[in-house]
Amino acid sequence: MIRIALLVAGKDLRIERRSRVLLWQVLPFGVTGLLLCGLALGPTHAGHSSAAPGLFYLVMLLVALLMINRSQVIEGSVGTKTSIATLGLDPAGVFLGKALALAVELWLTAVVLLAGSVLFLHTALSGTVSALPSVVVILGALAAAGTLYGALSGGGQGPATLLPMLSLPAFAPLLIAGERSFSAALDHGSIWRWWVISLVALVAYLALGILLYGVLEES
């Protein structure tokens, strides 16, 4: 399972490095999103709002939707999927590999957007840096959940429109945990509860993916 996971993750990341969709499309989209958040807050609040952590995570959710869709599109046409199906890869390994690749891409995006958050939304640098561990865990959970939902929505009618419908309700607790832990990091507050939510979500989605991804592949 681990061998296949590393193989699949390496393949996805190699494709991403070659295509540069993350660099030229997704990152600019994320930065644009942060800028729009500032505009939406209005000139008085743009640089002084306690909504900054929530807005960071909201933009990350939208970025995640793009990347989840991309993760499925990478598998290509029906022909490619058929060829890969004949390799008989362990579905749990495929799930972990795709989730790992997606997580790496989200972490890289988060570094850029956290810098953007400091720059545009004026979140304190020290607090933003201390939020990093919680960002890593929450985005890891997001990647695991997103990989599952991406597989659920793929192949049906209108997969691109179905994905947000399926995944956003599930992302809500991650958005809450993310916003609360980022805010707590900025205010030096307690974040143990949000660590519990994030870790439980991460473990739950990893377990669900390992157990159920094969069923989705079969279908």
Partner: protein
Amino acid sequence: MSNASPVVELRDAVVMIGGFPLLSGVTLEMPPHSLTVVTGANGAGKTSLLRLLGGLVALTSGYGVVSGVDLKTGDLRDLRRRVGWLGHEGSFYDDLTAKENLTFAAKALERPVGEIPTVLERVGLAHRSSTPAKQLSAGQRRRLGLAWLLLRRPETWLLDEPYASLDDEGRTFFDQLIGDVVAGGAAVVVSAHDPLRSSSLTPRTLTLAGGLVVGDDA
């Protein structure tokens, strides 16, 4: 026909997807070490039959055993590992090079990656090994697909309209390769609009229409 156990046994096999019967009751047997050509008009069910033999679509009703795997109750993932598929659509990761695509397959199957240059040489793509798959011509992509199969050495080869996009030289090369593969013990099933024109091969020809076998020269 040989007396060995058939590698494919279908009886009244029906495949339904989205309420449409792709196959409407196919009955046939195929021995090992054989070459079978499946012909028919567009929509006759040729690709669907190949996908059924590869465990790539579910058997809705009827009986089917391929390479000892029951199509209704057996482990289809196990069956898929034993078949090689060459489709008429693109079958690779477009952004990876020819060599990277084959390396992925080799590592997935725990085959030695040292075989890859030999395989690429055999299909005439050694000079294009570092070219991304999306930049290969249709004929070259077809050859890459063959390289993939040569690396995998499956028991059953399922080739969906493999002669499309091939020039005469490509067709001759293809015929030689299929002959070698059948002689090596594999069962090869090829779908084509017309019966094979090459005189160097003597396949069994099945004709499909309406999801049924309507002609068999076995």
